[in-house]
């Protein structure tokens, strides 16, 4: 009896573990939702995908009020950067890199600044006037010094 119950419990555990693994894999393969953030001095309520793309390919350099745009990105292989490129900009990280390379090596533009982590991303966007960047959806922004950061809705 004792053995049987243990065995049954063991079986349930394996199912739970397998289920957890499947869910985990699904979570990994599905995209991370990403939010666009700006420094609070940027007075725009929403932003279109094409404008975002122009900003993150480093072609659009000024906000409507003429102030310079400071672009921050996460490292090329960061999963949040990959999701941002695909889901928000509808392009791929290698395409963004190509666009930056062309601008840099033809002398007609610059590459964005790289924030090494989401934590640094938040800190940089909060402290740089005219800054734009992105963070995973629901990233804890409360309790930090981020009254200086706003989330911008896609249009």
């Amino acid at each position: 009896m004792e053995t049987k119950r243990t065995r049954r419990v063991g079986w349930k555990r394996s199912v739970a573990a397998a289920g957890g693994l499947v869910l985990g894999l699904l979570a990994c393969s599905s995209a991370i939702a990403v939010e666009v953030i700006v420094n609070s001095d940027v007075a725009i309520p929403s932003i279109s995908q094409s404008t975002l793309r122009a900003i993150f390919t480093m072609h659009l350099r000024q906000w409507p009020n003429g102030k310079p745009i400071k672009v921050f990105v996460l490292p090329e292989d960061n999963s949040v950067h990959v999701s941002f490129s695909k889901e928000v900009l509808n392009t791929f990280p290698y395409q963004l890199k190509r666009s930056w390379d062309v601008l840099v090596y033809s002398g007609s533009g610059q590459a964005p600044s790289v924030a090494e982590s989401t934590r640094e991303m938040l800190q940089k966007v909060a402290t740089t006037p005219g800054a734009i960047g992105y963070l995973p959806d629901g990233y804890p922004m409360e309790g930090r010094k981020n009254e200086n950061v706003r989330i911008v809705e896609p249009r």
């Binding site: 122009a54 000024q62 409507p64 392009t91 190509r98 090596y105 002398g107 007609s108 533009g109 610059q110």
Partner: protein, 404 residues
């Protein structure tokens, strides 16, 4: 003695450059913090090893050559949102075709005259890069190329300095529309000749324009390039002959998440020698006027790349070049020259397979194999006798590259 001294000088150049780059690398984090945030420093370096079964490509490749290396440092200063200064210094050693002498690859000021959500327009003044096809603007940077060697039919290395940069100006315009983005660049100026080319002429006013369309953030890219390069040639006994290279290039690329398909085609690149006049000996003998010498070729390639994993990419390409589109097999030319210009020197067909390993986002190691028929794009500086070249040959190349 003399040879040894100049050899040492060349070595010193390479050593000094390596040191400078190493210094830049070490200093870069400091620079990034200390210099104003609107200044950026980028750089690149590569070293290759090339082995060919016959013929010479970038050094004595038939014996195995490590004579292909590229170094460069790029500076830019965004002085205001609408004014950017940029400069790039590079050194390239490529066997007998390039001697590693440091040179200014780029030095310009870019004025944005109008900018908004719908687009941008402006002007570049100075030494500007020639926006030819899909890869010319980044052809120096190994990490930004799809392969160790770009398709030679279009990105020929022996006419490299004619298509690299010009001293002059360029206008540009970008338009973002609901159906996609349009980019136009139009430039004029004099291209930069190397020391050996300076013996054959002086650069005259040349023109470049490119219209590019990008759909869906670059998923589909289409481009049309027009190029007209002029040279006041030095070719005694002719008085002041002109050399002109004129072509149009069609480019198309489709980019998916894990694969890209690229094709570029130059239907009729044309090289012309005109004003072939031998002055008569005054006062009795009149000038002798020869008809223009003209050769119209044809070039193109199709290339596929596939990302096997995020860090491993495979490449397959077929690249073909005909120097004379009316004599693709080269037979007529060979017959007319009694074999001095062998048929196989009029074309090259190149099958390439390659693999790239992205060790880190800034470092790549590549290997590629070229299966070749023909020698049309081999440099005559490295292969002085066309008749001595082998028609069927193989090339293996290995390269490590870095950029920041």
């Amino acid at each position: 003695m003399k040879t040894s001294a100049s050899w040492n000088l060349a070595r010193f150049n390479a050593g000094a450059w390596a040191l400078l780059i190493a210094g830049m690398l070490v200093m870069f984090p400091v620079l990034a913090i200390d210099i104003t945030e609107n200044v950026q420093v980028h750089g690149f370096a590569s070293q290759a090893f090339i082995k060919t079964s016959a013929n010479k490509y970038f050094g004595r490749s038939d014996a195995g050559s490590s004579d292909f290396r590229e170094l460069g440092v790029n500076f830019s200063w965004q002085a205001t949102p609408s004014i950017q200064w940029a400069a790039q210094i590079g050194s390239r050693r490529a066997g007998g075709t390039d001697d590693a002498t440091p040179r200014i690859d780029l030095a310009l000021v870019d004025f944005t005259l109008a900018s908004g959500e719908a687009g941008r327009a402006g002007l570049r003044v100075g030494r500007h890069r020639i926006p030819l096809g899909l890869y010319n603007l980044t052809r120096d940077v190994a990490n930004a190329r799809p392969s160790i060697i770009l398709p030679e039919s279009i990105y020929s290395d022996h006419t490299r300095s004619l298509v690299l940069a010009m001293d002059g100006m360029q206008v540009y315009e970008e338009l973002r529309t609901s159906i996609g983005d349009f980019f136009f660049d139009g430039g004029t100026g004099n291209f930069i000749l190397d020391n050996i080319q300076k013996r054959t002429g002086t650069s005259a006013t040349s023109y470049i324009w490119r219209l590019m369309y990008e759909h869906d953030g670059g998923r589909l890219r289409l481009a049309l390039t027009g190029f007209d390069a002029n040279l006041d040639a030095i070719a005694p006994p002719f008085r002041n002959p002109k050399f002109n290279l004129n072509f149009h290039l069609l480019s198309a690329q489709y980019n998916a998440e894990n694969w890209s398909l690229t094709g570029e085609f130059a239907p009729s690149p044309r090289a012309t020698y005109s004003k072939l006049i031998v002055p008569g000996f005054p006062p009795i003998i009149p000038d002798i006027v020869f008809p223009d010498l003209r050769q119209t070729g044809q070039s193109g390639y199709v290339q596929g790349t596939y990302n096997i994993t995020p860090s491993w990419t495979a490449l397959l390409r077929y690249d073909v070049n005909y120097l004379d589109r009316n004599d693709r097999s080269g037979a007529k030319t060979a017959a007319a020259t009694f074999g001095a210009t062998p048929a196989h020197s009029l074309f090259t067909k190149d099958w390439t397979v390659g693999i790239a390993w992205k060790v880190r986002p800034d470092t790549k190691i590549r290997a590629e194999w070229h299966h070749l028929n023909g020698t049309s794009w081999l440099s005559s500086r490295e292969n002085p006798s066309k008749a001595a070249t082998a028609p069927h040959w193989e090339m293996f190349a290995l390269q490590a590259s870095y950029s920041f």
